[in-house]
């Protein structure tokens, strides 16, 4: 227990370092790519108006001063108002978190649900037609560009047959298509890893022992082989989920007009909304760090050899 809390504190400190580092990088980059005042004003604005705005927002102060002023408030959770929507930026991002989480978790559940049985079946009958088909379409899933897949699913399931909605948010009929689109890539990759790690386990001697004990084939597969094969699967699934949350939803959320923080990040960048970009990056960094810690705990749970220290 002591070990775990020591571990936890160390990870927490590391995480804070990561988040501060990311914040500094984003802060500097967003201010280095052009005059933030000019970029957020209309083309008709005169130089005087732009200058007045820049002064008011503090964009003319030296960068370290700007960062200090920002950081002082940020540690209290005040990331400043969004330049675009003039609301507290952090609130605008947090408002969008549930939609993105809903989308990403649905996608990863779909991906796992479809890939694990398929990967096991393929591993059981290597070189069968099922195995070949699985290998081929999982490769396809990895390669298909998400914007293209998304539009094709829209044409097929929303325009040709009115089974789902083209875009928007609210019901399962809105959720299914973007979730499938987002799931395609992790599904493909996880299927491949399930297949190969199961194949590895099949030839281990403990499998023979398990069968010799007279266990049913089902138990041999699920409680022995799959459990031992699960570390790479969990690693990959967690990595894919993190990738989604850390930005891979942007395209899918834009295509499907899904009001998550990926779409918001896109708007923040287009509108050159420095505070909103900053808050968005902070939230994403927080999620990624939390995911990493969570994964460590999952490892320790499924594999007793793993110790958190």
């Amino acid at each position: 227990m002591v070990r775990i809390s020591a571990y936890f504190i160390r990870r927490l400190l590391q995480s804070i370092l990561v988040i501060v580092g990311v914040s500094i990088v984003v802060f500097v980059i967003t201010r280095a790519i052009g005059d933030p005042a000019r970029m957020s004003m209309p083309l008709q604005a005169t130089d005087e108006q732009v200058e007045a705005y820049a002064q008011r927002m503090g964009f003319r102060d030296p960068l370290p001063v700007q960062f200090w002023n920002w950081a002082k408030k940020a540690v209290r959770g005040d990331f400043g108002d969004s330049l675009w929507q003039r609301e507290p930026a952090l609130g605008l991002v947090l408002e969008r978190v549930p939609a993105t989480l809903q989308l990403c978790f649905t996608a990863i559940i779909l991906a796992l649900g479809a890939s694990i049985p398929l990967g096991i079946l393929a591993a059981l009958r290597p070189r069968s037609w099922l195995d070949k088909l699985t290998t081929s379409i999982s490769l396809l899933g990895v390669c298909i560009p998400d914007f293209w897949l998304g539009l094709m699913l829209i044409l097929l399931f929303a325009v040709s047959i009115h089974l789902f909605f083209t875009s928007g948010y609210g019901t399962p009929r809105h959720l299914i298509l973007p979730a499938i689109t987002l799931a395609a890539r992790p599904w493909g990759r996880i299927t491949q890893i399930v297949r190969s790690s199961m194949m590895d386990e099949m030839h281990r001697t403990y499998m023979m022992t398990a069968r010799a004990k007279g266990l049913s084939e089902q138990r041999v597969l699920i409680t022995h082989a799959l459990k031992n094969a699960s570390i790479p699967i969990v690693t990959l699934a967690a990595w894919e989920l993190t990738r989604m949350l850390a930005g891979y939803t942007i395209v899918v959320e834009t295509v499907f007009a899904w009001p998550g923080f990926g779409q918001l990040a896109m708007h923040a960048i287009v509108e050159r909304d420095l505070t909103l970009i900053q808050a968005n990056v902070f939230v994403v960094a927080l999620i990624v760090v939390a995911m990493n810690i969570a994964i460590d705990f999952i490892y320790a749970t499924i594999d007793p050899r793993v110790r958190l220290e």
Binding site: L43, S136, G168
Partner: protein, 528 residues
């Protein structure tokens, strides 16, 4: 290995087949369903079905590009906000949908009292949706709110001349300007009248839940998802036909099209011309947007008028309109104004496409083979990059060496506002003048002091300056005509095309788009 490949190929082919079969658009619509570029009303619109007698019914969904920045109608220069609030708020004056002529709205009459004072007589008995009265005090408050330097409105250039207002009596109000301002009535078609008590009580509330005098009342705003309005049955101008309007942000053009095809939405703005063949019903109208190429007239060889004229002769405007915009654009007639703009000069025409003339002029000026840098950007406007590349190819065809440089938005902005001396040789931009008065275009782009100008001519400067305060309408128009003609003769920029606004509609929706690009839902009728 070989069988694996075969399996894979088969799978890919099957999927491709399946998807292409489903991706094929529905059979092309009957030709009369889509209207030609100039037409504004579909032919079958002549006999609207009898409206149901019982008040506003039905609901429609209008697609906008993005979430509004705010729902405060005076703060931002944001097209998404305007599309929504144009239905919630009203102005003292409005415009004729087709001619652009200024008409009464909340003010029943108006007159200029002296050089700097305009008097408006308000329609009596109008209420804001929350019960506040629309009176002279509300108008003064609205004017003073938007010009307050602390409020820092992005719309300030639309109301720049206003210095304040005065209550004359309950329903009579004076608007004061810093000098004679003949464009004041045009400004009053822009200034939205807000309720003084509600908007000053709680600004956060006001930014999220607008309250106006208009035909639609605010219901809810779910950020990123939708804004909903409902018909104001007590609207002073008579209740609108459609009961509920939802504005939904969909950024991706292909998704907007799909949403229209799937009958999920009823009005799609800024439809891409290529998509029109797949849309059952669309309407279009000449828009206000003019892509253009700024010329830095201060540097060699562009300070020679012959070179600038050659650039204009070299560009085939009609081909650009056809090839890039599928015909949903028209040649800009040597000016960046439409016939609806005050100051449009009908006798000025575009430089004809004449590459031989262009070559001769370049030869004469000793500029054949000159190298010019053309700055463009990508993604901000429809076909921006493609347009720049097409123009560059046409300029190269007459013997110039064009160095196309597509830059990032912030670099593009820096170059646009670098000042006349440091401006690049040629720079693509796009201009739209929603005030429908030539002053905004001429002073911003073609005067020595203009914030986006790289051209200066003392005669034009003087005409624009005088025009801004000339209260004699005919004299003023004369001045603009003269300025427009000089700018065209001097080839102060490369004039290109004027884009149409294209809207995809639900076949059951009857609506004629407006010259000023605004979308008033009260003008729409839903049949069944």
């Amino acid at each position: 290995m070989k069988t694996k490949l075969v399996t894979l190929l088969t799978a890919v082919l099957l999927l491709a087949l399946l998807i292409s079969a489903c991706g094929t658009p529905a059979p092309p619509p009957p030709p009369e369903a889509t209207t030609p570029p100039e037409a504004t009303t579909p032919p079958e619109a002549t006999t609207p079905p009898e409206p149901p007698p019982a008040g506003p019914t039905g609901s429609i969904v209008i697609v906008i590009g993005n979430d509004p920045a705010t729902l405060d109608p005076q703060a931002k220069d944001d097209g998404n906000e305007h599309k929504i609030n144009d239905n919630v708020y009203e102005h003292l004056l409005t415009r004729d949908p087709q001619t652009g002529e200024i008409l009464a709205e909340l003010a029943e009459s108006w007159e200029q009292v002296d050089d700097t004072t305009w008097r408006f007589k308000l329609v009596e008995g109008i209420m804001f949706h929350n019960g506040e009265p629309l009176n002279a005090e509300a108008v003064v408050y609205s004017a003073e709110r938007i010009i307050d330097p602390d409020f820092n409105s992005e719309q300030i250039s639309f109301v720049a001349s206003i210095t304040g207002g005065e209550v004359v009596d309950e329903y009579t109000v004076d608007i004061l300007t810093d000098g004679p301002d003949p464009t004041l009535p045009a400004r009053m078609t822009w200034l939205k009248i807000v309720p003084p008590v509600y908007s000053s009580e709680d600004i956060d509330q006001f930014e999220q839940a607008p309250v106006g005098t208009g035909p639609y009342k605010f219901v809810e705003w779910v950020r990123g998802s939708h804004v909903t309005l409902e018909a104001n049955v007590d609207y002073w101008g008579g209740a609108p036909d459609i009961g509920e309007v939802t504005f939904r942000p969909i950024e991706e053009a292909a998704t907007r099209l799909a949403a229209l095809q799937a009958d999920e939405v009823d009005v799609v703005t800024d439809l891409i011309p290529e998509y029109l063949a797949q849309v059952e019903k669309s309407v279009s109208v000449h828009g206000l947007e003019f892509p253009w190429i700024r010329i830095n007239t201060n540097i060699e060889p562009l300070n020679d008028v012959r070179v600038r004229q050659a650039l204009n002769y070299a560009v085939d405007k009609e081909a650009l309109a056809e090839a890039l915009y599928s015909g949903y654009a028209s040649v800009a007639e040597g000016q960046m104004l439409t016939p609806g703009h005050f100051g449009y000069n009908p006798s000025v025409v575009a430089y004809p496409y004449d590459p031989d003339m262009a070559r001769d002029l370049l030869e004469e000026a000793g500029a054949s083979g000159a190298t010019l840098e053309l700055i463009g950007e990508s993604g901000r406007w429809l076909k921006d990059k493609e347009l720049v590349e097409a123009v560059a190819a046409q300029l190269e065809a007459v013997g110039l060496d064009i160095d196309v440089n597509i830059v990032e938005w912030s670099d593009w902005l820096d170059l646009l506002f670098a000042g006349a001396e440091a401006a690049p040789d040629l720079q693509y931009s796009a201009h739209d003048n929603v005030l429908l008065d030539a002053d905004r275009t001429l002073s911003g782009l073609f005067t020595t002091e203009g914030n986006q100008a790289a051209y200066g001519n003392p005669d034009v400067d003087q005409l624009v300056l005088d025009g801004r305060s000339e209260t004699d309408v005919e004299l003023r128009e004369q001045m603009y005509h003269e300025a427009v003609e000089t700018i065209r003769e001097e080839a102060a920029c490369i004039f290109l095309v004027n884009l149409d606004n294209i809207y995809g509609l639900n076949p059951n929706l009857e609506w004629t788009p407006r010259l000023d690009g605004r979308i008033f839902v009260k003008d729409m009728v839903l049949s069944d």
